[in-house]
Symmetry: C2
Amino acid sequence: MPETVLSQVAECFRLMGEPARLRILNTLRDNRELTVTQLVELTGLGQANLSKHLQLLYAAAFVSRRREGLYVWYSIADQETIELCDLMCARLDREAEPSPQASPA
Amino acid sequence: MPETVLSQVAECFRLMGEPARLRILNTLRDNRELTVTQLVELTGLGQANLSKHLQLLYAAAFVSRRREGLYVWYSIADQETIELCDLMCARLDREAEPSPQASPA
DNA sequence: CGGCAATATAACTGGTCGGTAATGTGGTCG
DNA sequence: CGACCACATTACCGACCAGTTATATTGCCG
């Protein structure tokens, strides 16, 4: 496995390893498509900060965007992005309760 | 989605978002179980550096370990960890060649 | 064209993290 | 018990990054 590929994969994971970006993705998941202003309201992030995160997510193709007049509508780019989140969440859940029959008196 | 959960998920992604750690996981994937010294040789990472990464991966339950005399044998903890890597790689591959029928003369 | 709204970018800063060198710890063997 | 080996931990430093403030760009409208 060449170093360049590893770095690319790592970069993708790193992008998802930020609470603010996960919040953006999660918000977009609940609301199919949102403008930046709507995302500012829903996530509570600052406008400049949010915009910067969106550029990163877009550059890595985690989100799509389309222009409509003054507004730019963002949405999650593909299903795999959601699957990655779900898979990681499943890991955490399983770790939280490793033995269902345990908890003795 | 509460902030605490988001941070936990982000932390997991962040841990995988480092070339050195992905190299460790990938090396462990090829060789079912390895000692720290073997990992030093195979990954080319420094011993202290490697040991630190291993502690992080172990704390997040990405790897398991067992003691055997002087040696500590490390291995990947579960299949989901591998699935996460594969899913992210698949994303990258698909992005690299978005339209198979393209490339016109 | 002038002003305004929505979004993007630039410059800056504090905090965090990866790599390394030095040291500590636990276990084995003679 | 003392030297040695495998591994872990500490302390430190340079690089990178998230957040903020200020400013620039883009597109609409009157």
